[in-house]
Every structure is written in structure tokens, then in C-alpha cells.
Symmetry: C2
Subunit: 110 residues, 2 copies
DNA sequence: GAAAAGTACTATGTATGGCCAAGTACCATA
DNA sequence: TATGGTACTTGGCCATACATAGTACTTTTC
């Protein structure tokens, strides 16, 4: 049991929310997302992001199209499906509730 | 893949933080914690709480003493060790960073 | 034009933690 | 002593994050 491990645990689920949110703002591919997540100091690595995208796609929340690139192999550009949009709304509420609950507990000095 | 499952994932690690925080405010036993968590709408069940307490104790973050009760079997009253206090400080920062990062991403309308 | 470097994506195995479910143990009351 | 409530324990299941290694394609460099 160490801090680093707990940080990983805390990220669980939240990552999914962040990624859906990023995609909701317009077509992006994996490296775009990595860049934004990193710049927000949300540590993510390839080995986490790609499987997650595949999972979300298989669940019907995302879809993608191949787009050729001028500097390397073609890229998958992702967009949200309607199902994905609904799911994001739900996640949004879940996250807000969770933050509120945590605040309630950690601000309580009794 | 459903909402409920993601809610579970989101709770991961955060629960640990909340429980350490509750214990940091004074001696409590499991049912006290359950009550406070529930009243803050942080859904927790016995099967989650007890193993977590055991884990934290084995990691040296908690210690407990048995106290007899007038209305049932004796109870384990938990307190934080010094190690536990330090760990809680670390978790506190981790949580704040995570909330900030998430805000950064979800407030970005680009 | 062949080798090297870079970009994008894939696949597999491991560890952790939340939860369900069943079970143990103790106490008080009827 | 039988019943119901309280407190805690245990074993197994599932989902996710991550490390690691690998595939495939493109551009650059000599």
C-alpha cells in the first residue's frame, strides 16, 4: 500500500469521464487526448488510453473513422454516439455527486 | 458497461480517503463510519468497509482497540497512526489535484 | 532504395479494489 | 433456550489501470 497506488485507484472511472468529455467537444484521435490529459496533469499512458477507447467503442459509446495523416500512419478519429452522449450526462452527475459527498465528509470537522 | 459499474470504479480510492478522514477526527467504529458515509450519500456496504479497514490496519495506517458495548458485541474503535496521518495528507493532495485536473478538462469548451 | 527513426495502434498478462454472499460470534430480550 | 439484532470475517468474482512487447505504416537519411 503506497500513495502512488492509491492515485491510480482514484483515477479509476474518472478517466473514462474525462475522455468522453474531450471527445464530446469534437473529433480527436488518441494523441490529441493524451496531450490534453497530460497538460491537465492527469497522468495517462498509452497502455491505458488505447484499451479504454476500444472498450468504449465496443460498448457503443464511441465510433471512429480512419483519417490519413501527412506525418505517419492513418489515425482513428473518434466521435460520441448518441448513447455516448447520454452516458456522459450520467457520468457527469455521478462525478458531481461524488465530489459533493467527499466535500461533505472532508469539510466536516465536527 | 453500465453507469452503475462506472460509479463503482469512480469510488475506488476515494473511499479510502474519506474513511481515513473520518477516523482522523476521533475514535470511531465501523457503524459510525457507515452512518456518516451514508448520510453524505456515499454509498458503502459492509462488505466494502470491513475489508478496507483490515487492509488499512495491516498497512500500518490504523490501529484499533476493543471496546465493550452495552447493546451487542464489542466494537473495534479505530484511530490513525502517525503513518496514517502522513498518508492522509498525501491523499488529500492527490484528491485536490485530481479534482482540479478534472475541472480543467470538463470546463474546457474550446 | 535500404536502413533507421518515428507515429499510431494492438495484444497479453498482472495487480488491486469494490462488492456479493455466506458465515461466525456475541449480546439482549422474550 | 430460542430468537433477533449487532459486529465483524472470509472467499470468490469482476472490472480497470498499467507494464510490456509487438505490429504496421510513413518519413527521413545515407
Amino acid at each position: 500500500m503506497n500513495l502512488e497506488n492509491t492515485q491510480v485507484q482514484m483515477r479509476k472511472g474518472i478517466l473514462e469521464y474525462c475522455i468522453l468529455h474531450i471527445i464530446s467537444r469534437g473529433e480527436v484521435y488518441a494523441s490529441d487526448m493524451l496531450e490534453e490529459l497530460t497538460s491537465a496533469k492527469m497522468i495517462v499512458v498509452e497502455g491505458t488510453l488505447y484499451p479504454l477507447l476500444t472498450r468504449l467503442k465496443n460498448a457503443g459509446l464511441l465510433e471512429y473513422k480512419w483519417v490519413e495523416s501527412k506525418s505517419g500512419p492513418p489515425r482513428k478519429y473518434y466521435t460520441l454516439t448518441n448513447m455516448g452522449k447520454n452516458f456522459l450526462d450520467g457520468l457527469s452527475n455521478t462525478w458531481k455527486d461524488l465530489v459533493l459527498s467527499t466535500q461533505k465528509i472532508t469539510n466536516n470537522s465536527k
